[in-house]
Subunit: 333 residues, 4 copies
């Protein structure tokens, strides 16, 4: 029973259908009418003008955004558990040509204005120090926790105060919005986010993430950088089709709600073994090696977060029976 990660779930039928409907030849790269429709689709969704580009991976989305924000001698402030720091093989350093990541703390993998401020205070002034000129937060965080609109806005205010550009890694942005019950804008751009990596792959897509720019000055460089990084696929219409299908009828939100609901069931079963509040589709549970072995013996697949913690991830396709089986098993340990 698969609770390893949402990044291996199947493709949603509506996405399949949209891709196949895109089969007729069209101009290559992003010259097709689906790619051209993305700006409008996301502008409508966020209620403000924005530019949207497809890319094949969250790493590409995040790093193209950062490359548009910092110069090579500058630095990005992020949480010490951020995906860009821990899980992308130094990709930010590649795309930004060596810019540094400056790491702050914060409970549940979320920075606060205070943890950000404290870290920034320790960055020296002068040409021997890389100036921090961008801020990146993850919505939902690596611990499966969500920044409320107020928390996003507080980070945005901090960014403005310090002159930092503001990026949001939204690999699980859908799950965050589903949890918050607010508009996607309230969870991002209304709080000051200037570039958003809006994830679809973990939520029913195949190989397309949307990189959304609310700040128009970042767009042109990114068009070149996307090509230069080999991410301007020639049959881009199939990526645009995936994304537009996810937006249609708020499929992205339905899928995320389903995943969140499954996670909530598991969380309820885990009780006081929970390491973090369960606000999205990830459940971190304190389990001993023996307990984990027993669960695996019973057919559950999941990830060892550290020696004492297991991570269970649900997805749009998590089956109720399997979720209930896991919940029951967790109650039994």
């Amino acid at each position: 029973m698969p609770f390893m990660s949402d990044n291996a779930a199947p493709v949603h039928p509506a996405v399949w259908a949209a891709m196949q409907a895109a089969d007729a030849p069209q101009p290559p790269y992003d010259g097709d009418n689906l790619s051209a429709a993305m700006d409008d689709a996301f502008s409508a969704l966020f209620g403000r003008p924005c530019a949207a580009m497809w890319v094949a991976s969250g790493t590409a989305a995040n790093c193209l955004a950062l490359a548009a924000m910092v110069r090579p001698y500058e630095a990005v402030l992020c949480h010490e558990l951020a995906h860009i720091e821990r899980d992308e093989c130094g990709a930010p350093g590649f795309f930004t040509h060596g810019a540094k990541l400056v790491l702050a703390g914060g409970d549940h993998a979320k920075m606060t204005p205070q943890t950000a401020r404290d870290r920034l205070a320790r960055v020296g002034v002068g040409v021997e120090h890389t100036p921090v000129t961008a801020l990146s937060i993850t919505q939902a965080s690596e611990a499966g926790c969500v920044y409320s609109p107020g928390e996003v806005a507080a980070m945005g205010a901090f960014a403005r105060e310090k002159g930092l550009r503001f990026h949001m890694d939204g690999a699980r942005f859908a799950n965050a919005v589903a949890h918050l019950g607010c508009s996607p804008a309230a969870a991002s751009c209304e709080g000051g986010v200037e570039a958003l990596s809006f994830g679809f792959v973990k939520n029913g897509g195949m190989g397309a993430e949307a990189l959304i720019f609310f700040a128009p000055d970042m767009v042109e460089a990114t068009r070149y950088n996307r090509k230069r990084a080999g991410h301007l696929q020639s049959k881009g219409r199939y990526l645009a089709a995936q994304i537009l299908a996810m937006l249609k009828g708020d499929l992205w939100l339905d899928n995320a709600r389903r995943a969140n609901a499954a996670a909530a069931e598991i969380a309820a079963a885990a009780g006081d073994r929970l390491i973090h509040p369960v606000e999205a589709n990830e459940v971190f549970v304190a389990l001993s090696a023996g307990e984990r072995a027993a669960l695996r013996g019973a057919g559950f697949a999941f990830y060892d977060w550290d020696e004492a913690t297991a991570r269970f991830v649900t997805a749009w396709n998590s089956e109720e029976a399997e979720v209930m089986a896991l919940a029951k098993a967790l109650r039994g340990v």
Copy 2:
């Protein structure tokens, strides 16, 4: 009638079927059984052990190969019309961290040992000059022409003599092999090619190219570089599925033969207006502005190569009626 480019053709039905058959969840990235099968599939195809990785674009394939071949202070020798020089927005400079391309001439966008040797002779010796340590040729060339096995081997001998690693950009490798009627190995690795960008997107795939390493020392760095460039997609099984479907029953070769045959029909009609021999699926025809306007008025889409030349590209799905219509129109000008 679409003769603009093969890079916008639809996805072949067998590829669609294979992708959908890959829908069941599997370990992410390249941990799935389809990705794992690629090494064996290509080793069988080429008759020697090789390592195969999927990436989303030819630019990524080419540049990851070059990054495994040269250090940032070195240089790659290629034809002045090569795609890596002219059409990738400096992507080789990005992936290699600034290595130079050193440009040689040669008829029909093909280098010869002589043009390569002449160019190399003009590269200075000493630390003020970037040493050339790799060679890249395009099979079929940007002019739609093909290196025979003997020509590949001659370039390979030159590379060995000069201590150059040897890369082949095979965005249209299938068309080249279909033209030659030889084994894929004879058109590449038997002549000394150490890394091959084997294109599928232009030939019936959706968004998957294969990067083949015949030289095992280049593999490990490339695994990291692929991740670092955002090209290790989490649902990699859908890329592997495309490629394996193309290999099955030599679909790649059938598709290429079909495209080549269509190009041959057009070429026959173009007669002595042909700029280059037609050996793959591209037809370069001397046409005045007026003649081109007339053809466009008649419904034909194609690319203006330069002021006096139109380029017509066929694909696996070129329809016989449309090809005949174009042939007839060309005879009429």
Copy 3:
């Protein structure tokens, strides 16, 4: 008798004296009063506000300037014989993170608006092509020839028309100004030059070149980039001392005049064997292998430019007797 290069000449006594006068401890890096005086000194020299930084080499000066002008996915237009293209081991690619050099022709290693325009016309439009956003010319050129104020201004007008930033590699700027008999401003910034690598090492200095910015927007990034490249030396006062000593009493101009005069004597002797007009301190002479061997046998050191050409370089310290000996020898071949 040394006519190999001016880059190995001794240090001028006035420079030695100024360095030793700088021995008293002062704040490190460029916090000392000599470094602080550079902006004013060059602003006075050029008759307009400018920012001046010392660096240790012409390569560093050139490449820091280019790094302030182009983004990694852009390109610099320069002559195909430019030092940045041929003699710096790809340093521009290092400092700019992979930006390309686009090469134009032109007699005597000088571009003209026409050669520049022709080359630019062949650069494609769209994200697959690196946009050219900077222009770099060499004053005096690699052939020892000089852009007149009118020629500089014509290139500057071209740069403005095309939206290009404008850099001048002035490794031998002093020799050019000495030849022109105009103000240094007329030979550079009055014609639109925005950043000038003003060479002193070849003209009596030890290890200090001045990087002059007439465009204030390039300064801040360069302060960081200089540090980041290891070029912010801690005892920077010794570099500033060299440069200020060269400016004092127009020593830079006197030294260049002396070198130019020596070159003119040699040029007169070379007669119609001259390959290029002799306008600075380099003399290119058609000489057969045998003739060159004979000259070397007679004690003259010089550089083989190509199989049929010898290059003789004079310097501030060229001795009259040696110059006359060379002139006599050349008359005798």
Copy 4:
């Protein structure tokens, strides 16, 4: 009275003399006989074959060494207070094209095998993580403390065990060796160090540091990288002259002993206010803001390390009277 930093001290008379003796023209770059003598001079000093190159700054020396050790997707393990992490504006990221620094702790700015091991254990395995392939320690450390030969050897054993290349930042290597009373080899290469940034600028030089390679495989790439970074100065003989003058008669050791002795006097006066053992030429003293103001009022210049700590640095030219005055003042606070 100057206790701000040793990086602004004057040039030693013997160094001046050697530079002036190098005035006669010689082949440029490192083609002169002084540069050529460096390998032998350092091989004799260290009792084993090594290659030595001059560069203008410690940042350049450190980063060229790291660039020879790691690929762009790899990482360097160093102390969290290391100069390469805190004071070089991200220069390691520039020279290595984005490699990361992975930070370990340890008292007195010294790593131990245990702190290194603990940190390494937290680095994940797999292509999403940058593999650590090099280790860099600072001798003497940023806290003015020294690794004993045994401690260096322990770090070297750790590096070998983990397959890490081993770099030593020796900006104050002379002070460390003077403290240890051992051979320079015992303080570095005998313990496994493969590349050493051997500092001279802080110890009586002007603008020349030596980069020493005990591992021959790193040399060739570095020759190119030095040129490419603009650090191959054309009048390199003046840099070689400085270094050779410092080696002659062990001037480097005499100068360091003098600086260390001055620091010891100050340390004795600081008593239990010392933050770190004083083993080289830096004295860290707990002093309140008021106490520091009083000292400054009395004419002492020094650096505020943090809110509660002042740093006093001595140099080869520290004057006995000034040192005694400071010692007396510290006893009085």
